[in-house]
Amino acid sequence: MKIVVAVIKPFKLEDVKESLDGIGIQGMTVTDVRGFGRQKGHTEVYRGAEYQVDFSPKVRLEIVVDDDRVDEVIKAIETGASTQSIGDGKIWVIPVEQVIRIRTDERGPDAL
């Protein structure tokens, strides 16, 4: 099993969710985060004082899937999140040792 983590533009979340729905992904967890990569932030001005704010609002998605589904999940996230412009975000994949469904105590892929 793997956890697929993606950091995307907030307004693309609905598109990514639709895209993941389309391949039968049944759940995900999202968090509002802030960050920057090669894309830098923006300026804000208060009473004439100009501020550089580098951390932009982003959404972080986490999806745990069985190994054989990782590639299609990545593809679906790319499809939903891409705007072909800087700041579209990143995806990374991490191995997962165990998954447990709390209600039934099922373990492993059965719990996904």
């Binding site: 609905e14 923006h42 951390f55 932009s56």
Partner: protein, 437 residues
């Protein structure tokens, strides 16, 4: 001159002024958090812009001595001769400048009302230029027609106590023109456009309700029985409107909503505005209730007809304004106001109702056509709408370089010693193709 009347109208003016910040909160709570300041600005800045315009040119076009029933002449340009001495024709018992200032507050809130329709996608510069032109070319002439001695609608005998036509139908139909010219928000009809802070909206409703006593009772232009009657009618209009919308919510959704009650109160206030100084308490309740019910139904039209009136200016101000203006022709009572007339149910027959129809029709036609033309003109020259990128980022950042809510302390002063980043800051204006979110 009467000191009691003067004191009353001064206080009423301050109350009407306070409605505009109330409107800013009412609207600001209903938009998404990235657009809260831009939305508030479109009301708050009207206090700045229109106050100045009103003194320079707006007032004299509206209330200067009549020219052909259509417009005022330039006698009061720059508030010339508008001083402590009462103007007998306009308001005999208060200083002329008090009357002019009271009217200033109406001129401020009317264009601010329109902004709810194009919320979340309007360029600030486009809003400023449109508001300037609209005040001079639409608001002032219409105020003249309806309220100034010699104005053709006033001479016709149509009744509008505090601004059902001039303020609400006028703003509402201009809002309709605006959404047709500006177009839908990106994602309208698909994405969730969820109000980001309804507590703010409810506070705004309370401030509007409070200020509306100044708006309607103040329109008696004196501290007298008529003002007291209009004061009560105002409260009943708001109250019954809130009840009407709550009932509609209950019927449609199975539960009553806070936003529904807030919207209903405003709808009831809109509906009672033209009638406030002409009706007894029971008709005031009927007008508010009908206003609340009709507007609760009317806000659904935008989805069926496919126009994106963001905060329902058409549904509430246009529809509520029409309901109020026509019902004034049904319920007006000479016993309440000797300067009024009897309506359909008070023994006056169809005469007044017919005049109300003419006033409504003329307002609709004039305001829609001229507003539409002005919007097209501004759109073709400096542009009305933000770029798609700016719309995604939100108008707070793209139009004003500010954030309504900052929960983080990260960031550095440009030019300050803490500013270590090598990348040049992105310019405030966001260019096509760039994307900062």
């Amino acid at each position: 001159m009467d000191t009691g009347d003067t004191a009353f109208v001064l206080v009423a003016s301050a109350m009407v002024m306070f409605m505009t910040p109330g409107l800013a909160l009412f609207y600001g709570g209903m938009v998404r958090s990235k657009n809260v300041l831009g939305t508030i600005m479109q009301s708050i800045f009207a206090l700045g812009l229109v106050s100045v315009l009103w003194v320079l040119i707006g007032y004299t076009l509206a209330f200067g001595p009549d020219v052909g029933g259509l417009i005022g002449n330039l006698d009061f340009l720059g508030f010339k001769d508008v001083g402590a001495v009462p103007n007998e024709a306009l308001a005999a018992t208060i200083p002329h400048v008090s009357f002019a200032t009271f009217q200033m507050m109406f001129a401020i809130i009317t264009p601010a009302l329109i902004t709810g329709a194009f919320a979340e996608r309007m360029k600030f510069s486009g809003y400023v230029v449109f508001t300037t032109l609209w005040l001079i070319v639409v608001y002032s002439p219409l105020a003249h027609w309806v309220w100034a001695p010699g104005g053709w609608i006033r001479e016709l005998g149509a009744l509008d106590f505090a601004g059902g036509t001039v303020v609400h139908i006028n703003a509402g139909v201009a809002a309709l023109a605006a959404v047709l010219v500006v177009g839908k928000r990106k994602g309208f009809g698909q994405q969730a456009f969820i109000p980001h802070n309804l507590t703010m909206t409810v506070l705004g409703t309370g401030i509007l309700w409070f200020g509306w006593f100044g708006f309607n009772a103040g329109s008696a232009l004196g501290a007298n029985g008529l003002a007291a009657s209009a004061f009560l009618a105002t409260n009943l209009g708001a109250a019954a409107g809130a009840c009407g919308w709550a009932l509609m919510d209950l019927r449609k959704e199975g539960r009553s909503t806070t936003l529904g009650v807030a919207s209903g109160a405003v709808a009831g206030l809109v509906a009672i505005t033209p009638a406030a100084g002409f009706v007894t308490p029971l008709p005031a309740i009927a007008i508010g209730l009908i206003g609340g019910v009709v507007c609760a139904w009317a806000v659904g039209l935008k989805f069926r007809l496919g126009y994106d009136d963001s905060l329902d200016v058409v549904g509430v101000h246009l529809m509520g304004g029409i309901v109020g203006a026509l019902l004034t022709g049904v319920f007006a009572d000479l016993a309440v106001n000797g300067a009024g007339a009897d309506g359909l149910l008070t023994g006056g027959g169809l005469a007044l109702l017919g005049k109300q129809f003419i006033a409504v029709g003329a307002t609709l036609a004039f305001s829609f056509v001229v507003s539409y033309a002005l919007l097209k003109l501004v759109d073709a020259t400096i542009g009305l709408r933000v770029t798609p990128e700016e719309e995604i980022v939100g108008i707070d950042l793209s139009q004003h370089s500010e954030a309504g809510y900052s929960f983080s302390e990260s960031g550095s002063l440009v030019g300050g010693t803490l500013h270590k980043t090598e990348a040049a800051p992105i310019p405030v204006a966001i260019k096509e193709g760039s994307d900062i979110r």
